[in-house]
Symmetry: C2
Subunit: 500 residues, 2 copies
């Protein structure tokens, strides 16, 4: 029980399979499992874990042990007299222990259970004077500079468990709605949006046979590109997801995405994870898409708020619970501008004091331009809000032109704005009509030949479909309340920054 069951198993030849879920656990219990496994029985258990902190008294030492499976450490009670003085001496903050003992009701304050240590081994020592992760609070800058040790802090380990929980919850929702998880390419030949800076990919070393390809210049030139064409890191999987949805109907992916942005803000990473989904529709309308996005996020928030595993370390964040308890509004861009102008009329954006007192702190919105972040925050001040049907001119080529005869034209798209965060999700119905798509490409001076395969999707059985993208680190930021996305990913990559 609760120990390695390793070694060489013996099977009868052609035996029936021995493995079937629910799993017969191969590994020893984690602290989380131990706490959930009828601890009243006072069974002997063996744990490994890291010392978060230790208090040594004359005859007893109290060590807070974490193995990453729970948000709070388990207090190990070590009766020092039972052990060699040397071994107790070697236990310091950051050291790595193997403990055998019993879970018992704690007599101390603040925790329900203690772990009474019977046997003990120091698997790895840690010089407390040199250890960069002390118990005291560190700045985020210091921790980012020690990204390889940062997961040992309570905040980062809780963030990592939150990521896993959100990831799982997303997959559960999409499973329930019959979406198929797919893996689109990271290396692509195109820049999906025509916007944003991209990263170029080349082999680190020259091909050894470059000199020996002979005198054929064209062959030489073709060889100079590893893939036969310039290669970039994907900024979005959308176009490839559209291709897959034209077979599988409903697809999604959670995968890395890349932008070579040189801005250094709390909201930007050069490498981030993006959730993207595409689905075939029976009519080209936004309704089902918005229903999926709202259904997905309500499901994820519900799972998150119910999970004590991940949440308890972020008690200050009420964002997910609040979003669950409110109505999610849906309004057109044009309606949003009316509401914003009304707010300007009401003096909402007037500076109350100081220089510029009595004047609007932001200009009034102008139809045909994007929304300012101040305006987005106002629209989502109390409720999540889908802003739909933006002007066509400020949106990418692939969004579906609305059929209305009004000019200037709008497209069937949305941004989901969340209280305190701003935009979390963006998506649209895609332009499935080849004549409309070609007209837009021509109008924007884009090369239809480069998008030949994308046009094919319309040529061969193209039908109405829609999709969206969601920045995973922004979702993590929203539910945890960690404001900087660099605290929402294990090893952040941003302009000028790659410590580990």
């Amino acid at each position: 029980m609760l120990s390695w069951r390793g070694g060489h198993r013996v099977f009868a030849p052609k035996a029936v399979r021995w493995y079937s879920r629910p799993a017969a656990y191969v590994l020893p219990h984690t602290i989380k499992q131990l706490l959930a496994s009828s601890p009243e029985a006072e069974i002997d258990a063996t744990l490994t874990g890291f010392v978060r902190s230790i208090r040594k008294q004359k005859h007893v030492a109290f060590a807070d042990i974490s193995d990453g499976s729970t948000p709070f450490p388990l207090q190990a009670v070590i009766e020092s007299d039972k052990f060699e003085p040397d071994i107790v001496h070697r236990i310091t903050s950051g050291s790595n222990l193997k403990l055998t003992g019993k879970l018992v009701k704690s007599s101390g304050e603040g925790q329900e259970w203690d772990f009474n240590v019977a046997e003990m081994e120091v698997l790895g020592t840690c010089d407390p004077a040199a250890y960069p992760i002390q118990k005291k609070t560190h700045t985020h800058e210091h921790l980012r500079a020690n990204a390889h040790l940062r997961p040992r802090t309570d905040e980062t380990s809780a963030m990592l468990r939150t990521r896993a929980l959100l990831n799982r919850s997303i997959c559960d929702y999409f499973d329930s709605e019959q979406f198929i998880q797919v893996h689109p390419p990271i290396i692509t030949s195109s820049d999906t949006e025509g916007a944003g800076e991209t990263f170029r990919v080349n082999p680190a070393s020259e091909p050894p046979e470059l000199d020996s390809t002979g005198s054929d210049g064209s062959a030489l030139e073709a060889k100079s590109e590893f893939f036969g064409a310039p290669a970039y890191l994907s900024v979005s999987a959308q176009l490839h997801l559209e291709a897959l949805s034209h077979s599988l109907s409903r697809v999604y992916t959670l995968a890395p995405s890349f932008r070579a942005e040189r801005s250094q803000t709390n909201r930007h990473l050069a490498e981030f994870w993006m959730l993207e989904a595409e689905l075939q529709l029976s009519t080209p309308s936004l309704g089902p898409l918005l229903d999926v996005v709202e259904g997905l996020l309500r499901s994820v928030f519900d799972t998150y708020t119910k999970s004590t595993d991940a949440v308890v370390r972020f008690p200050e964040s009420k964002a997910a619970r609040h979003a669950l308890e409110t109505e999610w509004k849906r309004m057109t861009y044009t309606h949003a501008l009316e509401e914003l102008n009304h707010a300007h009329d009401q003096g909402v954006f007037i500076k109350p004091t100081g220089k510029g007192k009595g004047k609007d702190i932001v200009p009034r919105p102008v139809w045909g331009q994007g929304l300012r972040s101040e305006h987005e925050r106002y629209l989502a001040r109390d409720n999540p809000v889908f802003v739909t049907d933006y002007p066509a001119d400020i949106k990418p080529f692939y969004m579906r032109l609305n059929d209305e005869s009004s000019t200037p034209p709008t497209v069937a798209c949305f941004d989901l704005l969340l209280p305190g965060l701003g935009e979390l999700v963006g998506g649209s119905v895609r332009e499935e009509r080849l004549d409309h798509l070609d007209a837009t490409l021509k109008q924007r001076g884009m090369d239809a030949d480069e998008l030949a395969w994308y046009r094919d999707l319309r040529l061969y059985g193209g039908g109405p479909h829609a999709g969206f993208g969601l920045g995973f680190e922004r979702l993590v930021s929203f539910v945890t309340g960690l404001e900087n996305v660099r605290e929402c990913i294990a090893f952040p990559r941003a302009f000028g920054k790659m410590k580990v």
Copy 2:
């Protein structure tokens, strides 16, 4: 029922959350759900899907419809006289339909259910003369050249569902063993293995401010690298996973990995998905690691063989079932060489006819060299086999030196060889002893400073830990029997190849 439930939902302010799992489906049923939903009730249903093929008779047309949710299409029965002749004319192979009707017991051979069409709309036409995906069998080369349409073939759509099933099954197993799913970086500053070609990453465009950074030459130089240091695409997440396991104890990831290999074989991709896991141990032994790998794969194979969704399209592949029903052997490299030499003695590798008759077709194995693929195939001829404890000199620096005093030294590592496939998984106990690690780095002429953060993991509470990597496309290849890994991923990336 079975129709869009879109539109604007109304909530009472502060209403209780309306969403909780099991999901109230937001989207209409797929064919898979329809077939599972008491079809005897003859409920009206609306479906969208693609026409795989159509037979038109005088008064009735039979269209095989697929929406990607099932391996076999659903036969739609269209009584032509009920519809405008034009609409029936426009239904061709590849077109995209919206159908409303009833599921009824089929009177035909080969299928249980028909879909009797009452209403019909052609969402997208498809010119059968131009359509590159005809019903007839295409070569894999032709389909790869049409990678954007290839998912519409039965083989590729079944492969994609298989990927999703394996992905899910992997997550289920790791959840059950308390591993936490993490997302290590794709862009890294190092080449993990010191082996294999890597891809270099640079911004596609020069920084606009490059000329204005002033006269400070060093600042200019630093700016010339986007991340402040040369950046590469990850060849393995292992080192970062080790850092994460030193907090979370058990971690795994399924993420893209990259090798700039110029070989064009059916086993190599430049971009592939890799499953990697790391776990903390209480003793530095291979046993628990092998137990996890075997437990994982038995669980995955069990799920795969029980799933009719994905499997039925690959009935020729008995590999997963066979692996479930056999013992998985464990033998050391040294023992494997003894077995191979014995086989050579027995004439197993002797060429029976033709030139070189009577001589070994492969040289005998030599201790200290890697295993030839012919030898690997022989070792795994009947059973999966873990070959362990390879010579240290032919393995990467991070593998743990065995404590035995024998020379030459071996390391605590394994390759898992599968019948008909060869190597699927490789892994090892990691060298947690800093003095041993430093000695190996020195011996190999590697720069310990570049691995400073990796050394820190040993300095601060390092303990025994182990991990492995598994090529996801090779797993797909094994269970489906698709021999070329380019048929095991939606959009393959290989030397000289990037069509879509």
